[in-house]
Chain length 268, copies 2
């Protein structure tokens, strides 16, 4: 490795779902020491500009080129932070970074690389709702950009048979709106129309909306790419909130959603 690389490092970090109060001190410290921030444009824009910091925003679906750029910068002595929304390890930049590392220059394997976790959209949405993921669950990326629909459908059916609660990322894009319609059809058949489903959109941002309904009432249009969808297990329950304070009244219409910790022997 050249002398230029001395002092260079690369940290793949999670900015959490939107609210700065959900960014860990570890990530804030990394951003304060960085010379370069690399990521999808709207995430890079969440990092305030300052002298000595170069922000490299790139388009969606440019993950591998972005990862290569970050590795190259670190290899030439830059202190590079790759930003993801939520957690970098859940359908975000960490996997792309390691794909680029494995396929790229051997010298990159000597770089000082760290992944710093963040509050995932899944955990933030779960917290807002109560505890829908309080028992066993699975997490599926519904985008069929990177895998065939047949595999998604197979996983949905097996997850329903396992009676997992399910968290879904990237449920519905304008380019392929029919995928989420199919998902709802598969789940209605496998779980029945009374099963709870939650649409948590833009959690921890000013545009946050929460909608709790059933598979029978759910419409594909309730989801977009900013929506985290959670489908309950057979055990998931509601508790109506009786809000009295002004602050909590805003949330009055949304019941708590939680999955109890226990399953009795008869349910196995």
């Amino acid at each position: 490795m050249s002398d230029e690389a001395v002092g260079g490092w690369l940290k793949v970090v999670g900015l959490g779902p939107g609210d700065d109060a959900l960014i860990t001190p570890e990530v804030s410290a990394a951003l304060a020491e960085a010379t370069d921030v690399v990521g999808y444009v709207p995430y890079v824009e969440r990092v305030a500009p300052r002298p000595g910091l170069t922000r490299h925003g790139s388009d969606n679906r440019e993950e591998i080129r972005r990862a290569e750029q970050a590795l190259q910068l670190a290899a030439t002595g830059h202190r590079v932070v790759v930003v993801s929304s939520g957690d970098p390890g859940v359908f975000a930049m960490a996997a792309a970074l390691f794909e680029a590392l494995e396929a790229g220059e051997p010298a990159w394997r000597s770089l000082d690389i760290q992944v710093l976790p963040g509050i995932s959209a899944m955990l933030a949405a779960s917290a807002r709702l109560g505890a829908p993921l309080g028992h066993d669950f699975c997490c599926i990326n519904l985008s069929d950009n990177l895998k065939p629909w047949a595999l998604i459908e197979k996983r949905l059916r097996l997850a329903a048979e396992a009676d997992f609660a399910m968290a879904f990322y990237n449920p519905r894009s304008r380019a392929r709106p029919e995928g989420f319609e199919h998902t709802l059809e598969v789940l209605r058949e496998a779980c029945g129309p009374q099963r709870l489903i939650v649409f948590a959109r833009a959690v921890a941002t000013p545009e946050e909306t929460l909608r709790v309904t059933t598979l029978g009432e759910a419409q594909p249009e309730m989801a977009d790419m900013r929506t985290l969808v959670i489908v309950g297990s057979s055990q998931t329950r509601l508790i109506q909130r009786h809000a009295e304070s002004a602050e909590s009244a805003e949330r009055q219409s949304t019941p708590w959603v939680y999955t109890p910790r226990s399953v009795s022997g008869a349910d196995a």
Copy 2:
């Protein structure tokens, strides 16, 4: 609700896996305003004592009584933080709190209750390893205190068939060491001996250890109750690290573990 309840609130928070740099500012602010901290003894002890703060530590398996105590304190005007390690919504106090809320006094449903997410052990372990949960995955509590073993085994077999990566909480206690041995047997049969498995113990604490091996080489003794276990999908891969710096040399023996984002059509 009585006048005493004015100003009372309850926040169920996640302290993250151990390092204070992984506690969100939102959680730190809640702790700074609290009059009472309630939780399992070792987690309550992570909150520094100060004048005006009462720390209520309780034993493991006391979750419902602990939740009732917290609700009662909030109902009488206290500002109560219930602490969990990791994230409160993943096999921790949030579900117990809502179980107690649903079964408890109707007036409790008017309380100002919030759940504040934390960095889960699963996300912290994943980050240390690389990106083993970078594709679809599931998360299973292996403790059979709260569900029958037959249900755990059913979920393991279906998760293997779905080709999820798997994160396991509470793999092995002294009281029931045989459960994890059974888990390894089921997974060896379903996934084959070459499948990757990782033991991430006490992540983000001074006692942290990471061990990457295969199902064929895994021994039940590699896990205890402080271990988060991750089993890869069929696509999960290793990258050897070539550490040059002193800091990264410590981790040299542990390869990166990651699951690529894509699955080709032929794999479905």
